[in-house]
């Protein structure tokens, strides 16, 4: 049976390189997908991917498994880094490693579980009305705020707010474990 995320983090803290390699194998695909989708630049995506795992190696104790999910935490960091790069904002090194606790009610430690969740998330997004889905994608993958989405789409700000609110309500319902 493969080791849990928590066990791997403990081994990384004990400076076990093979544990970091195992975490990489587990989550690099997921992170690479989101980085490439946001940046559309595979070289930049790979630089950030390498840097995220190098930071995890340097500061593994920043992640406290009792407070959240490693998969969610890494996904938040990857998105944050990619959007910062997209917007030419460079956060101080390690800044984002300190900030978030992520509670994820799914165990993503196996590739099978990740594939099942991938199907479910795509299904939940496909189920949204087209404009709601587009608004969610503008916010998540391009880091746009309500006003920025309104400017991009030409829709009134109130309409955009309502769309996004309805979208997150629906996603919350459909992604409930």
């Amino acid at each position: 049976m493969s080791a849990s995320d928590q066990a791997l983090i403990e081994r990384i803290i004990a400076r076990d390189e093979s544990a970091l390699a195992a975490v990489y194998d587990r989550y690099a695909g997921m992170l690479s997908s989101v980085l490439n989708r946001i940046l559309r630049d595979s070289q930049a995506a790979e630089e950030i991917l390498q840097d995220i795992f190098f930071q995890l190696w340097r500061m593994p104790a920043q992640f406290d498994a009792s407070r959240g999910s490693l998969a969610g935490w890494l996904a938040v960091i990857a998105r944050h880094r990619a959007i910062s790069r997209l917007r030419r904002h460079n956060p101080a090194a390690g800044e984002e490693l300190l900030e978030n606790t992520i509670v994820l009610p799914f165990n993503l430690e196996s590739i099978v579980a990740q594939q099942q969740l991938l199907t479910r998330v795509k299904g939940a997004l496909d189920g949204l009305p087209k404009e709601q889905r587009a608004a969610v994608e503008f916010a998540y993958f391009e880091g746009m705020t309500h006003s920025e989405i309104a400017r991009r789409t030409g829709d009134p700000l109130g309409t955009v707010k309502t769309r996004l609110r309805s979208a997150v309500e629906t996603l919350k319902r459909n992604l409930h474990p």
Binding site: S32, G68, K122, L125, H146
Partner: protein, 269 residues
């Protein structure tokens, strides 16, 4: 944002915050509130988790194996350079020598020890640099090997007697463009070559293999550059027999199923 005792009363506010959609006062209100409210901080952590799942909506892509190699080389180099300074104090820690051999010897040995420590650090840095260069050369070789493999795959595709070539023609009402696909079902290998206008910033082209039965299979998402030919290879599950290939215009990054207008299509004869 509706609030009661400063608590956000609508739970979606946490999701909207995690999504990064809130701005100005709405954003500040959440930030200033959660720092002092454990209950709302927990709700925000849950919302962050929910929103992080949207990472799975991105089209799947695997990083190059070189990334992992570079990462492990970087870790290795960082461990070695971290170990280096630990040796320096030992080399320069010759104060006790003074007690044994007198101040004169200490006056000689301390500078010698310091020089040795400096030399050790310099040599160590050189070693780290050489390790890095070696890792880079290794990465280059891997890259060249990957290019060679691709060229070999391409040669196999061209040589194989059961490789089919399908010309894709523009749909009526779309700009003139052309492309063709070479495909070998047994090898599961596909090569696209075409000339299409660049997509709008929020769109990508997506090539689909339309099988004899079942849903179209994603065969590549691409954004051509103006005036440049575009060709690439793609591996698909072997044994899939196509009845057609088609290119649609999709939201940037591609979709799991075709949703946009068809730009080019070609039936397998």
């Amino acid at each position: 944002m509706n609030q009661m005792n400063n608590h956000p009363t609508r739970e979606e506010d946490f999701d909207l915050y995690a999504l990064g959609a809130l701005e100005g006062d709405e954003k500040l209100a959440i930030e200033s509130h959660i720092s002092g409210c454990a209950n709302c901080a927990r709700k925000l952590a849950e919302a962050q988790g929910r929103i992080s799942l949207l990472a799975f909506a991105a089209p799947q892509s695997e990083p190059s194996p070189l990334v992992k190699e570079r990462l492990m080389a970087q870790i290795h180099a960082s461990r070695e350079s971290a170990a280096a300074p630990a040796r320096a104090p030992r080399a320069s820690g010759s104060a006790s020598v003074g007690g044994l051999f007198g101040r004169w010897w200490a006056a000689v040995l301390v500078p010698v020890g310091a020089a040795l420590a400096i030399a050790t650090i310099v040599l160590w840095n050189q070693k780290v640099q050489l390790d890095r260069q070696l890792a880079e050369m290794h990465a280059t070789i891997e890259q060249q090997q990957a290019q060679l493999d691709e060229a070999r795959d391409m040669a196999h595709l061209f040589e194989a007697k059961d490789t089919i070539t399908v010309a894709l023609a523009p749909k009526q009402g779309t700009p003139p463009s052309s492309a063709h696909v070479m495909y070998n079902a047994k090898m599961g290998m596909l090569m696209y070559d075409g000339k299409l206008d660049p997509t709008p910033a929020d769109k990508s082209y997506q090539l689909w293999l339309v099988p004899m039965s079942g849903d179209p299979i994603n065969a590549g998402v691409f954004n051509p550059v103006a005036g440049q030919p575009n060709h690439w290879m793609m591996k698909l599950p072997p044994g899939t027999l196509p009845k057609a290939f088609a290119i649609t215009l999709e939201p940037a990054g591609g979709m799991p199923h075709p949703t946009g207008p068809m730009v080019l299509v070609g039936a397998v004869s």
